[in-house]
């Protein structure tokens, strides 16, 4: 059932500031739904060819997968409000099998919609200011960002206003909707890059220049997938007012000169690589010089957008609460959860809380309708009604008072959302793999489950500390295996599933692509390989040395020797 537009006032709770659609934004998504409804009707009547409908449905997030279509919904730079989460729960119940999946690009996927019902789902989404526009297809995709934007302690400037400016600019851009290949933009505003900006087609990093002004460092040509490439700096400092004209210049050069003869060589990273950064930047610079004037972002526009993201009404005395430290002393499990699943907040007395979607018995990133509804209520109760998704497939309540943490933890625990494993070895990124995806060569969820079961000792997991395992079921690398500290890539060898293991990848500031450990291992050997790698680390680390630091120090040989010891 379509519930229609809900313009009713929000419930009387203090809201976090999130971009709110104006009339034009609403009209645009409504008209998009009408357009796609018409296109789908024409397709079902045979008036649009399979090929053409494919291009149109992809631009509305609709893939056709092994079992059913898959619908990907945009999570604009990872921000959701409680009303939107309840809508996702409603869609999961009404149109799907009672769950949805959070992706590495802060989006949401439904795995079981019926094609003919997708226009209805999109109409439901539009009623809560959501859409699936350009979440797939060879066009500009959802802009991603730092999941701690606006609340972290190492921020140069809040990236969210710029994300929204980019979201609008990229949405239905008439010139750049039929690009050679997909195009992804990420924005980070903090010292610590939590948005993997060096692995995007364009990465934007808010930086300060010598005069103390804030602008963008522009990185181009990064990407994961089949050919992982670390992006290169094309503009060390771009004034904010030139943000859109510079993006336009990059996109025009890419649209005109990007390769269209081979889809595996069509990303901008190949154009940058084949032209060389110097030649590519010269082309962009020449184009930009011709369009930059008269195409500036005004201060008024920037300030109006910033006003959409002002701080919620923090309580100034939140830090005075004393119960929090007592509760940690009295309850070890709570203290452990606080240590691993919360992040320091810029406001004393507040914490950003991670909700782990990596419970041992649940596929990474999946959430049920019941959990979605419950989290919406918790967000209203404890975090200004806002929920964020992270690129490691977890959720965040970004603004929780320390006095509320204990009660929140108890409720999250009963929802199986409090596994204290954020940033640890069981906080795996994992694609849907062969179980759902028509592209996959190998399963990933089952392997993740097996690894999870083998690592059932939380103390051991915490002792290992910061270790990111990323696992993809095919070369397309949706789970970013090439930047996992341990990367696992499923490949098909004559009809059986094998797994290549890499070590030492990172998507953070010191970006690196993992080095292959050796020959692929059989499916039933993956868990053993992982536990062996962990044992080598535990045995050989120096003091507080992290796994990644140790790999960088000793290389892959000690790991290789043990993993392949019996071969």
């Amino acid at each position: 059932m379509i519930t229609g537009h809900d313009y009713s006032p929000e419930r009387p709770i203090k809201r976090s500031s999130m971009y709110q659609y104006n009339d034009n934004d609403q009209i645009l998504v409504d008209e998009r739904v009408a357009q796609f409804r018409r296109q789908t009707e024409q397709y079902l009547k045979g008036e649009i060819s399979e090929d053409q409908y494919r291009a149109l449905r992809l631009r509305n997030g609709l893939y056709v997968q092994i079992h059913a279509p898959m619908l990907r919904i945009a999570g604009p730079y990872g921000l959701f409000n409680s009303r939107q989460l309840r809508k996702l729960a409603h869609i999961a119940r009404t149109y799907d099998k009672n769950y949805c999946h959070f992706t590495t690009r802060q989006n949401v996927q439904f795995n079981w919609p019926k094609l003919e019902e997708v226009p209805d789902i999109l109409e439901e989404l539009a009623s809560v200011q959501m859409h699936a526009i350009q979440t797939s297809g060879n066009c500009m995709r959802n802009t991603t960002s730092d999941h701690l934007a606006g609340v972290c302690i190492d921020e140069i400037e809040d990236p969210r206003p710029y994300c929204e400016i980019i979201r609008q600019w990229t949405t239905l851009h008439p010139e750049f909707d039929y690009l050679p290949r997909k195009f992804k933009i990420a924005v980070s505003g903090a010292l610590h890059d939590r948005a993997a900006t060096q692995f995007h087609d364009v990465g934007l990093h808010l930086v300060k220049n010598d005069a103390g002004e804030t602008g963008f460092k522009v990185i181009v040509g990064g990407g994961l997938g089949r050919t992982p490439v670390i992006g290169q700096v094309i503009k060390p400092y771009l004034e904010k007012k030139h943000l859109l004209s510079y993006l336009e210049a990059i996109l025009r050069i890419y649209n005109l000169f990007g390769r269209r003869d081979n889809k595996y060589k069509a990303r901008i990273k190949i154009l940058v690589k084949e032209s060389g950064l110097d030649k590519f930047s010269a082309l962009v610079e020449q184009e930009w010089q011709l369009i930059r004037d008269g195409n500036e972002l005004s201060n008024e526009r920037i300030n109006a957008m910033k006003a959409q993201f002002v701080d919620p009404a923090y309580e100034t005395d939140a830090v005075l609460d004393t119960g929090f430290s007592e509760q940690q002393q009295e309850n070890k499990a709570f203290a452990t959860w606080v240590k691993h699943n919360t992040a320091t907040h810029k406001i004393p007395g507040y914490h950003a809380v991670f909700l782990s979607l990596k419970a041992p018995d649940s596929p990474p990133g999946d959430m049920t309708d019941t959990q979605l509804d419950a989290v919406a209520d918790l967000a209203d109760q404890y975090s200004f009604g806002e929920i964020r998704s992270t690129h490691r497939q977890n959720l965040i309540l970004a603004d929780v008072k320390q006095a509320d943490l204990f009660a929140l933890w108890q409720q999250l625990d009963s929802l199986k959302l409090a596994t204290p494993n954020i940033g640890t070895v069981t906080d795996m990124i994992c694609c849907p793999g062969l179980d759902f995806c028509s592209l996959a060569n190998a399963g990933s969820i089952g392997v993740a489950k097996e690894i999870n079961e083998a690592l059932d000792d939380m103390d051991y997991i915490h002792d290992i500390g910061d270790l990111k395992i990323n696992m993809s079921g095919c070369m397309n690398g949706c789970a970013h295996q090439s930047v996992g500290h341990i990367g696992i890539l499923g490949v098909d060898k004559k009809g059986t599933e094998w797994y290549q293991i890499t070590l030492g990848g990172s998507s953070e500031n010191k970006a690196a692509i993992g080095e292959r450990l050796g020959p692929a291992v059989a499916k039933n050997q993956v868990t053993k390989a992982v536990t062996t790698i962990l044992a080598v680390y535990v045995k050989n680390r120096l003091n507080d040395e992290s796994f990644l630091d140790m790999v960088n120090r000793v290389g892959i040989t000690p790991f290789k020797e043990q993993v392949y010891a019996n071969n």
């Binding site: 034009n24 609008q168 239905l172 010139e175």
Partner: protein, 150 residues
């Protein structure tokens, strides 16, 4: 033969002359290669002139001649080849071309809204029965987020 120009269905009074065919009377369009090769002959004849460009043609090559050209046809070999969108933008936005820009070939009626936004003002759809669909689809959206040509 009918096409859409400036949101109206009109009779088309242009014909395209293939590279190996003889030039003929009336309003004709030719390929960019033929334009370069036969420019003097083309300019000395009666009738209006058009050039048909494909996605890999370089629009800048036409820039010095735009005053002599009344029609530019953007020929889509495949609807997925989006270079034509940037070509249209360049013709209008960079070279200030004021004549007719017409989409022809294998594009989708679902692309005409975007094409009109980048400056295409005439549409020769693949199937004649698509003319009313093109007219309707030109109005798919009443709002927009970006400046462009239209």
């Amino acid at each position: 033969m009918q096409i859409i120009k400036d949101q109206q269905i009109i009779d088309d009074n242009w014909s395209y002359v293939a590279d190996e065919a003889d030039l003929k009377a009336g309003n004709i369009s030719v390929s960019l290669a033929r334009w370069h090769q036969d420019k003097a002959r083309l300019l000395s004849r009666e009738g209006k002139l058009g050039v048909r460009i494909g996605p890999s043609d370089v629009v800048a090559e036409l820039a010095p001649d735009l005053n002599a050209i009344q029609l530019i046809e953007l020929d889509f070999p495949d609807f997925a080849d989006g270079r034509s969108f940037s070509q249209a933008w360049l013709l209008r936005g960079r070279y200030h071309y004021l004549g007719e820009i017409r989409a022809t070939g294998h594009y989708m009626t679902d692309q005409v809204f975007y094409l009109s936004r980048v400056g295409v003002n005439a549409f020769n759809p693949e199937k004649i029965e698509d003319l009313p669909i093109v007219l309707a689809n030109l109005n798919d959206f009443t709002v927009k987020y970006q400046g462009s040509i239209n």
